[in-house]
């Protein structure tokens, strides 16, 4: 397949189709419109079903239904829309429904605005719904990574029977970069647990539900969820590091803001300063292990986010006091300013 230039939103949609997704349910919201519109145009051509739901809540339960019936299914939305899907997500965790959920996030809280922001980190990594769970959350930083991670997300979802999030922001969705979309694969996943209407003949009936009235039964289910989460935490961590080993300053940034930090690194290098980057690709599981590469006398670990500071908590948990943790953030849809970040780092190096 040749590379082509695509918008992130469209690349995500194309990647989902290439990954064998057969069903899309979603509700329009900016800045992910190109994604849903691409799906509306292209998924039917690939023999799949695009359906606009009456709301995000309904969309999440259409996913629950189609996913529970064995389909490869995806939904996408933006920040407040994902807030509305929290009940659906916790249900899907409980019922063990594999699916991919894309959040092209925007400024918040509330309706906020449609500019790029990274302030949905908690909602996307901690599980904003009730009950004990996390779900895998992948954050692409380039259009090609949008493609790769969406495809990966489907496999992770199927393997662990849970919803997997892909978290971009308006910039990820709107920007255009070269990328390669592999040809569509037809997936014949073995889903013997699915309620697909094929069991009566065998005298069986599959049940998909999210209720377990007995404490012990629910505890056992939770143990199973935790077991799967543990396995994910052990095997599905993804991250990139740049020059971390001998850095005097290590930045931690994901997605759009990591791109800005790469500019900071170039500038720093040009000035002979040793700075590095840990870029979490999986936000949950968070790449705690990456921090072990940081040298002992590193001056500071700086979380850089387009938010008022959320991932920084995970950074603190990963650092556990080994180095000072600082935070640089912009909110409201404003971009990271590489020069400001560099200045902050230099101030720290200069002992200010």
């Amino acid at each position: 397949m040749a590379k082509k230039l695509m918008k992130g939103n469209e690349a995500i949609a194309a990647a989902a189709i290439s990954a064998g997704a057969t069903h899309f349910f979603g509700y329009p919201i900016t800045p992910q419109s190109e994604l849903i519109e691409y799906m509306a145009r292209e998924l039917p051509k690939a023999g799949g079903c695009f359906l606009q739901a009456e709301s995000e809540v309904a969309a999440s339960y259409m996913v629950y239904g189609a996913g529970g019936a064995g389909a490869r299914v995806i939904t996408s939305t933006s920040s407040p829309g994902l807030a509305l899907k929290q009940e659906g997500l916790t249900y899907m965790i409980s019922a063990g429904i594999p699916c991919v959920v894309v959040n092209i996030s925007r400024g918040g809280p509330g309706l906020g605005n449609i500019l790029p922001a990274q302030s949905d980190y908690f909602m996307c990594t901690r599980g904003g719904g009730n009950g004990d769970y996390y779900h895998p959350c992948f954050a692409p930083a380039s259009v090609q990574e949008c493609v790769d991670l969406v495809r990966h997300a489907f496999d992770v979802a199927d393997k662990y029977r849970m919803p997997v999030l892909v978290l971009g922001d308006g910039m990820t969705g709107q920007m255009m970069e070269p990328c390669e979309i592999p040809p569509r694969q037809e997936v014949k996943a073995d889903k013997p647990w699915a309620a697909d209407g094929n069991h009566v003949a065998r005298g069986e009936h599959n049940r998909i539900n999210a209720m377990d009235l007995q404490a012990d039964v629910l505890e056992a289910k939770n143990e199973d969820i935790q077991r799967r989460l543990k396995e994910i935490a052990e095997t599905e961590v993804m991250y990139e590091t740049v020059d971390v080993e001998d850095a005097d300053i290590v930045f931690v940034a994901y997605g759009t803001s990591s791109r800005a930090v790469k500019n900071v690194l170039s500038k720093a290098k040009a000035e002979g300063l040793k700075m590095g980057l840990i870029r979490p690709i999986s936000l949950w599981p968070f790449p705690t292990e990456a921090f072990d590469k940081i040298k002992k006398d590193c001056k500071a670990v700086i979380a850089v986010e387009q938010s008022c500071g959320q991932m920084v908590e995970d950074v603190r948990l990963a650092v556990l006091g080994r180095w000072p943790v600082e935070f640089y953030g912009r909110s409201g849809g404003n971009p990271i300013i590489p020069d400001d970040v560099l200045k902050m780092a230099k101030d720290i190096l200069g002992g200010k």
Partner: protein, 181 residues
């Protein structure tokens, strides 16, 4: 090589298109490229801009805070983006529409009567292509031929009739630069 360019103007002037053409051309010539539109409330307000990066190396942020080159198609954009050109950079001004002059002296400024040139070339809506031609001719970031090919690929079928007039505009823009340098 690292070229960072911002294109700005009114909605409807085809500024996003200029950026995309630059990006596509860079891509066609095997460079690393990114294109990022500004979007959000200002788009409704009528102004639009986009950032493109063309580079031999992997590209950092696609959102530019500063740029080697800036193409402005209307007055508010001149005001907003003139300060953002780096020292020694280039500023391309559609002087058919922008009557003010740039104030900076540490950059090269190119005044192109793009709307008039386009009208002359028989394509009243082609001011953006004129600016594109001028920009490419002045910077040499990509080959003009690459742009012509792109135009041919873009306008096909019932739209094939637009190919020539667009190429004319690009050429006219490139000519205009020659006259300036």
């Amino acid at each position: 090589m690292l070229e960072q360019v911002i294109v700005a103007g009114f909605g409807g002037q085809g500024v996003l298109r200029i950026g995309q053409m630059i990006t596509y051309a860079g891509f066609a010539e095997g460079k690393e490229v990114t294109w990022a539109p500004s979007y959000g409330p200002e788009m409704r307000g009528g102004t639009a801009n986009c950032s493109c990066v063309i580079s031999d190396e992997p590209i950092g942020t696609p959102v530019l805070m500063e740029a080697n080159s800036i193409i402005v198609m209307n007055l508010p954009s001149l005001h907003k983006f003139e300060p953002v050109v780096i020292e020694g950079g280039k500023l391309f001004i559609n002087s058919s529409i922008i009557k003010e002059k740039a104030t900076r002296t540490d950059i090269s400024v190119f005044y192109i009567e793009a709307s008039d040139i386009a009208a002359e070339a028989g394509n009243a809506l082609g001011a953006n292509m004129v600016m594109l031609g001028a920009y490419v001719a002045a910077t040499g970031i990509v080959q003009l031929e690459t742009l012509y090919d792109l135009v041919k690929q873009t306008f096909t079928g019932s739209k094939a009739k637009f190919v020539d007039s667009n190429i004319e505009c690009i050429k006219a823009g490139a000519e205009a630069i020659k006259a300036l340098v």
